[in-house]
Subunit: 188 residues, 2 copies
């Protein structure tokens, strides 16, 4: 599992072998069944995840009681409930598994220790933050400028595997449409 992780890391930054060894040593394997909660709403997020196989998401509940899926991570990818992880304050979002999932997990302490000690980790984390920020803003942009149909088509074009792998309920909450609307869009 760590070998795939190293390939993933090198895709972003040209880490040397010593750096890769140091990073890998901080990430501990963990297997989690489908529908398991990795972080509950209100808990402080002190873990950062590499998804080696499977699928996890960050989601939240609106004041009207609707569940919204903010971000979905399928293998290979990396992420967490970043706002709580950064601030070490209770998380507004929860994280759960959408499939049986194999993870590599780094603690908050080890993450920021790498960040303090390794310039290339700083560069890597900067890239992650830039991507996370841009994804977030693009999502808002989509919600305020695109129709439900256009948002569905965008997911179908850019991340078609989500349409394959996610249940209708989760996909609808990710695109921010009702399940009925999603079924109609899919049947076209």
């Amino acid at each position: 599992m760590h070998d795939n992780f190293k390939i993933f890391l090198k895709y972003f930054i040209d880490f040397n072998e010593e750096e890769l060894g140091k990073i890998a040593a901080c990430f501990k394997p963990r297997s989690v069944k489908k529908n398991d909660v990795l972080l509950a709403q209100g808990e402080v997020c002190n873990k950062f995840y590499y998804i080696s196989r499977g699928c996890i998401r960050t989601a939240f509940i609106t004041k009207e009681g609707h569940e919204k899926t903010r971000y979905v991570m399928c293998e290979p990818s990396i992420g967490t409930a970043l706002t709580s992880f950064i601030s070490q304050k209770p998380s507004f979002e929860f994280i759960d598994t959408l499939e049986d999932t194999e993870l590599l997990v780094i603690s908050y302490e080890d993450f920021y220790k790498l960040n303090a000690e390794m310039i290339n980790w700083k560069v890597f984390y900067q890239r992650i933050l830039e991507m996370a920020y841009s994804f977030q803003n693009k999502k808002i942009e989509g919600l305020v400028t695109l129709s439900a149909k256009q948002r569905y088509e965008l997911v179908l074009k850019e991340t078609p595997f989500l349409v394959q792998r996610l249940s209708n309920k989760i996909l609808a909450s990710y695109i921010d449409v009702s399940q009925e609307t999603l079924s109609r869009l899919k049947s076209r």
Copy 2:
């Protein structure tokens, strides 16, 4: 103006004098009148701003034609239309001035040159990205979990100067309420 900027920078990171000199040399002063457009929607954002005096904002137009104010920067602060700045693709947001404003401006090229050459700039930029990401997520959280009244009270508590300085139109579009609702909330 550069002296205030240096104090602002040192508030975040313990830059040494040589670093501060190098950074300040990259930031050029610019005076802009109220209601001027610094970046138009659809333009690529290749400037990053330090606001020395005055007030600027990032905003966008929804598909229903409503103007939404995403982020407001009053002195002393730093920012830009970050998604476009990072990607160097056309911006969904525009930037305009809400008051007569004194800026220090760094180009995209100089910004990432500092980032490549100066570790402390990487640390600074990481802090900015973390704050920008967290602000963005907190804003979404507020929109989906708080009532209009609660969002107004939060701004009043955390950034009361915005209630003082912004016009009703801009403040309403920032809190995401109608101008009528805002007037009602203010009169209580």
